[in-house]
């Protein structure tokens, strides 16, 4: 059937051409499947997003009452609200610190797991483990470990002479708590991606560097990091998006408190929509938050263009 015309020196692209299904076009079944897929995507993914935008222009007393069209009122209210700007800033602090530590720790773990260590498989499993745990499991376990007076960390810190640490009472400590928990939970994503990337760095580069007298740190800085730059670009982008949108860990550990000191945009949107029943306001905050994220992603792509393959 399809035989791609192979151009000398273009063997690779020739192969991928031959998988393109020109000859299979016009097949009824496949078109039916395609449109089914299209319809489902539209209903489940696109429609809710557009509906969120529609809700942001409305005001309703509850989820089922008749909404009233209010134009840009919600947007004006949100943007004039200092709570919103504070929440945005706290979200940036939260995501920023969490990402920096996740990346540094993830790279360190990956380097360790790549080294000649005993029980490699077990260690790799243990290092990935936190990522699989439900946020709720982690949050409840952390709360139990910080229990006053009998949590294992509480007692440990006391024995080290720190006294009772009031994690939920101080704005700074509460922020440290949610950031640390996020780092513990989601670092393995960086570890696994970086570890996979390490396997593709040719050994010859390291050997050449060694001949030139480069030490381990120099080899890491001048070979490993530059070689893994594309991996890191994607990993940082994904982690940034997900940390900025993260809701559950903060909600479960501090509920946004104390005195809203850990309340970022997702928590604020939840509080407005599901506790104050101001649906329009919740939708508006989510929409603005998504717009800010989109702009940030576009800027990121400009600064760190990805190598696009297909």
């Amino acid at each position: 059937m399809t035989q791609s015309v192979s151009i000398p020196g273009a063997a690779k692209s020739g192969r991928s051409r031959s998988t393109s299904p020109q000859s299979l076009g016009g097949d009824g079944v496949i078109y039916a499947l395609f449109f089914l897929g299209l319809a489902l995507t539209a209903v489940v993914i696109i429609y809710p997003a557009f509906y969120a935008i529609e809700l942001s222009f409305q005001k309703a007393e509850s989820f089922i009452s008749e909404p009233e069209w209010v134009g840009f009122d919600n947007y004006a209210r949100v943007l004039a609200d200092t709570e919103f700007w504070e929440a945005l800033w706290r979200g940036i602090i939260f995501a920023g610190f969490a990402i920096v530590f996740q990346v540094i720790l993830g790279i360190a773990f990956a380097m360790l797991l790549d080294a000649a260590i005993p029980m490699k498989r077990v260690m790799r499993g243990i290092a990935i483990l936190p990522y699989l745990l439900p946020t709720l499991v982690v949050a409840l376990t952390i709360r139990w470990m910080l229990n006053d007076p009998i949590g294992v960390i509480t007692v440990g810190l006391q024995n080290l002479g720190f006294g009772i640490v009031d994690w939920y009472g101080s704005p700074t400590l509460a922020m440290v708590l949610v950031i640390s928990a996020s780092v513990w939970l989601w670092t393995p994503f960086v570890t696994v991606a970086f570890l996979a990337g390490l396997q593709s760095v040719p050994d010859s580069l390291y050997e050449a560097a060694k001949v030139d007298g480069a030490n381990a740190w120099q080899r890491f800085w001048h070979i490993t990091l530059p070689q893994l730059r594309p991996v890191l670009t994607v990993v940082i982008l994904l982690r940034a998006i997900w940390m900025f949108n993260k809701f559950d860990i903060i909600w479960l550990l501090t509920g946004g408190g104390p005195l809203r000191s850990t309340e970022h945009l997702p928590v604020m949107a939840y509080r407005k929509a599901f506790q104050a029943y101001d649906v329009g306001m919740g939708a508006t905050i989510s929409t603005i938050s998504f717009l800010i994220l989109s702009v940030a992603v576009i800027i990121y792509f400009r600064l760190f263009p990805l190598d696009t393959k297909d």
Binding site: I128, L136, A273
Partner: protein, 279 residues
């Protein structure tokens, strides 16, 4: 690091120390959860001994006998199973047709799926809940399953798209030349070849649905409909001194995942390395 012969004693020591620290850092919370769950309730508030014991299954007994935990467990299994099935059927359909079809706009589907990765959970949860509330479907498992599909479907399409794209179309064509219909070729040739990809999608859809807290918090109100994470959360603060039972509860949520992880390790690594799971 690369040249093991060169590694001196001191750097070997540093390596082992780093290993130990990493091990304790990553594993201790899980260890502590398990140790607490099997400790006798009476001594729970008197000791922080790092060594397990005195051993007792009382926490588990109380959890299963005195709370709605069994119901929540059944709800979680049901929601996760249906989510996985729906995700598999539709992500296979979409990914397969997108890779085998030449027409404008097909990359828009993939693009939309990627965009969905960027949606804040509440950007999806608020409109979905509004829709379900108006349809009278709020507080149902159907609502929860559909909201889980908004995350698992993009994941499935994205992963399988990569899979189907790599697959040589020649085998499929050969089968069709030999008289197979497209559907037969699909079921006899494409599906078996894609089994690893499909398994990965099944595992991660299960994981996402099983671990979800946010959507369950928004969609489900009544105790009898709750899934494990939200159900367990409502136990907190309802009664005093139930940390032992809570840790038994979290252990039972985590153990199925640990079992999956141990037996299906390579799929996890594959899916994670593909950047697939949004968490």
């Amino acid at each position: 690091m690369r040249n093991e012969l060169e590694v001196s004693l001191s750097s070997r020591l540093a390596l082992y120390t780093a290993m130990l620290v990493t091990f304790v850092y990553c594993f201790f919370p899980v260890y502590w959860m398990l140790v607490t769950s099997v400790r006798e309730p009476k001594v729970l508030y008197n000791t922080v001994s790092l060594i397990p014991g005195p051993f007792s299954l009382e926490n588990y007994r109380l959890l299963l006998a005195a709370t709605d935990y069994p119901t929540w467990f059944a709800n979680s299994v049901f929601v996760a199973t249906v989510t996985v099935l729906i995700t598999l059927v539709f992500s296979v359909l979409i990914a397969y047709s997108v890779t085998r079809l030449r027409m404008r706009g097909k990359t828009a589907i993939i693009g939309t799926m990627l965009l969905a990765y960027m949606f804040p959970p509440l950007l999806v949860a608020i409109p979905l809940y509004t829709i379900f509330a108006q349809l009278g479907l709020a507080n149902t498992h159907l609502a929860l399953i559909i909201s889980h599909c908004t995350i698992t479907l993009p994941l499935g399409v994205w992963l399988l798209w990569g899979f189907f794209k790599q697959q040589p179309i020649d085998v499929e064509e050969a089968a069709m030349v030999d008289g197979c219909s497209r559907l037969a070729a699909f079921f006899r040739v494409v599906l078996p070849l894609s089994l690893p990809g499909i398994t990965t999608v099944a595992i991660f859809s299960f994981l996402l649905s099983w671990t979800d807290y946010t959507f369950a918090l928004v969609m489900i109100d009544s105790d009898s409909q709750k899934t494990l994470p939200v159900g367990l959360e409502t136990m907190v603060g309802q009664y005093e001194l139930r940390d032992g039972e809570l840790m038994a509860g979290t252990s039972l949520i985590a153990l199925p995942l640990l079992a999956l992880f141990i037996f299906l390790n390579r799929y996890f690594i594959h899916g994670l390395a593909a950047g697939a799971i949004k968490r």
